[in-house]
Subunit: 208 residues, 2 copies
């Protein structure tokens, strides 16, 4: 029996998945948590083989939580359960060294298959996630992997709050020129045409 924990802030989903998995022969649900923080608290005393981790959670998202999980229990397996097919999230998930990525549109059979495969030592990425990943690598070859500096991210967030360069400068105690330079660099790095593009970029990346 594979000991599985479920982390998802939607109680109905958590309970439903738990009932489904409980009916499977190879799987045993040993814990349900409504946030990554709760899981992290319980983890040291938890006997668990694999964690099904939601991404979109309010307090701490799954991808941030994964490294923390591995710090506490380096041998535990982590499989991401996500709603949407965001290429950045998949890339982040891979970078966080999770062992699998599933969509909530999957069937229960696929979840069990993924759990079993991951426990056997192989990673499991759903077909859609896999395709998205391949596409991302292609796009990377084509040219751009957008890497923002911490300061740029800071400026980006303020742009998203409807602030103009003047206000950003005042808020960060820098010159307007500097704020403008950062904005220009943001535009050129992201390939956006204007601030509208920046907001969309920021939202896609989860910066706001």
């Amino acid at each position: 029996m594979i000991k599985v924990a479920i982390v998802d802030d939607h109680r109905l989903f958590r309970q439903g998945l738990s009932v489904i998995l409980a009916s499977k022969e190879s799987v045993e649900v040993v814990g349900k948590y409504e946030s990554a923080i709760e899981l992290l608290k319980a983890l040291p005393d938890l006997e668990v083989d694999l964690i099904l981790l939601d991404i979109d959670m309010s307090e701490m998202d799954g991808i941030t939580a994964a490294p923390e999980i591995f710090k506490i229990k380096p041998t535990v397996k982590v499989v991401i359960l996500s709603m949407h097919l965001s290429s950045h999230k998949i890339q982040d998930a891979v970078a966080a060294k999770v062992h699998g990525y599933l969509l909530k549109t999957s069937s229960d059979e696929e979840v069990v298959a993924a759990i079993e495969q991951v426990m056997s030592g192989k990673d499991y990425f759903s077909k859609e996630a896999h395709e998205q990943l391949v596409e991302s690598f292609r796009a990377r070859d084509e040219g751009q992997e957008v890497e923002l500096t911490p300061r740029e991210i800071e400026i980006l967030k303020l742009v998203c709050e409807e602030m103009n360069s003047q206000e950003i400068a005042e808020k960060l105690f820098i010159s307007v020129h500097t704020a403008e330079t950062h904005r220009r660099n943001l535009l050129s790095k992201t390939g956006c045409r204007n601030s509208v593009g920046l907001v969309r970029f920021a939202m896609d990346r989860g910066y706001c």
Copy 2:
């Protein structure tokens, strides 16, 4: 036994909820659909008392679907199951005359309670949804109920696509002045400070 149908594009959620509800005495799940369109197709021949309807679906969202459902089966009850607590969505749901609004963070007991209450003829709105609704009405008293004209929505969408007034004008075969006027009206109606605010507004309203 109350005959219930479930509409949600996440198969795991759909199946999980179905299993949960199947174990309840008063409820019988008579159908599961992964999109509103599928449900609408099946509806004429479906004996159903109440439909649990997800909001965030790719093809047709729940709130758009509700009126179509009532056209086909005027007596059926509709309860919205949503992930997030967006005040606009709740308002839209109320406007669409659905009979209930639940969050996916609810417990299974609350879902059953809601189903039973709605079937008894009363509406059921979760505590959080109710509070949000009260707040919205307060905000309405304070001043603004933002109503955009179809043309304004059209301009708004193009703004969200990183187009400037010149390009919008060309695209819509109107003068730049007109495009600019629409933009300014959008800013003043929504109370936003710049285009960045407009994008966020548009996203919140589901225009993009």
